[in-house]
Symmetry: C2
Subunit: 227 residues, 2 copies
């Protein structure tokens, strides 16, 4: 599977010198995410990042003033690109999309993006609480913005009377995000198709949340009575 960089998701690259600089910057970020997810904050050395990126270590300083700045950007970039991706998918839905279908779409968008940027996701997961607070500040702010997106999704479903009344909505949201976030820790193409994981997650989450017994067949054409 080709893993798309979190750093290039949103930025079409212009031609010329700037393009090459942007590509090098992305290569450094991807390499830093790779090393940071495996060696941790304490064990991440710029020499390892340079080797992974196929560069000389001093070249990194052309793009990032310090090791701390580079790590700060990695911790932030994964969350930022996730939020932007999921919000773009939600914004592209028709305005009258029902709340549970919007959650379905967000589940798919999160899972697919998580597994595309898995080095960034894993780096953020494993280094949460290990990097100094000042390095995490921008990530934490971005985390909160992304959490708001999910809060709105769940609030809309609750306000429409679509959630089981016995759910603790806040706990339900965190359990769903946990199931999605954790996928970077176990999924790889040898574990079965990503499509199958996405469908299973959608089915479980919709049926787990939905107040309606008729939700037994989510996001599909309704079955005939003869089925």
């Amino acid at each position: 599977m080709v893993r798309k960089s979190a750093a290039t998701t949103e930025t079409p690259e212009p031609a010329g010198t700037e393009s090459k600089a942007a590509r090098t910057r992305t290569r450094i970020l991807d390499a830093a995410a790779f090393v940071l997810s495996r060696k941790g904050y304490g064990g991440t050395r710029l020499s390892d990042v340079a080797e992974q990126a196929g560069l000389q270590a001093p070249a990194i300083y052309y793009h990032f003033p310090s090791r701390e700045d580079l790590i700060e950007e990695v911790m932030w970039a994964g969350v930022a690109s996730m939020r932007e991706h999921v919000e773009a998918v939600l914004d592209a839905l028709p305005a009258d999309t029902p709340p549970l279908d919007r959650i379905d779409a967000a589940v798919e968008a999160h899972l697919r993006h998580e597994l595309e940027i898995s080095d960034y996701a894993t780096a953020a997961i494993r280094n949460a609480g290990q990097v100094p607070e000042r390095i995490r500040a921008r990530q934490v702010a971005e985390d909160n913005r992304y959490a708001d997106t999910w809060r709105e999704l769940f609030a809309a479903a609750r306000d429409a009377g679509l959630l089981r009344p016995d759910l603790d909505v806040s706990a339900a949201r965190m359990l769903v995000l946990g199931a999605l976030n954790w996928s970077a820790e176990w999924w790889n193409p040898r574990r079965g198709s990503l499509d199958s994981v996405v469908r299973t997650a959608q089915t479980m989450i919709r049926n787990g949340l939905s107040a309606a017994a008729s939700a037994a067949e989510p996001a599909k054409p309704r079955r005939r009575a003869t089925a």
Copy 2:
């Protein structure tokens, strides 16, 4: 919330000198789990562990030959105590307990234990892939044994025809474990009662998995038709 040590879960302490040694060993392990979950493998120093445990650093060497041995034990102890706890809960159920009720019981046992030993759980989560392979070997073996417990739970439910036929059973199992494992990353008593989280997780997981529309009210007395 009082966080029970992973290291003392299974061992009643005898009186006398041995008891004191065992308590000190547990105190060192608890302190190491605390430091390892926050500083990571690369950043964990025995002097920090000693300070957290309220001991002099050389005292650690009386119980653990090396820093590596101590970290190895922490990475293993959390998984081992989790597996033993969940298996003990399952073994105590009546032999004719239906498969989905057994999953309910395992969900509750995992969640409650996870949040009791959260330093061990967080240390294992955040340092997976950061510690050298030889340090993880015993943890990985224990992980696999615990995964087998969950495989058996899901296989029994599937063989009894209780799971939705459209689920990828392996993906469903990993999504459930992800939701549970991630709880150590977000839950604290300020996030609401643990009972409420447990009930919400059970409701979502049972309804997410169950083929029966009648599973809309899980693990409760059946509602009257007048409800």
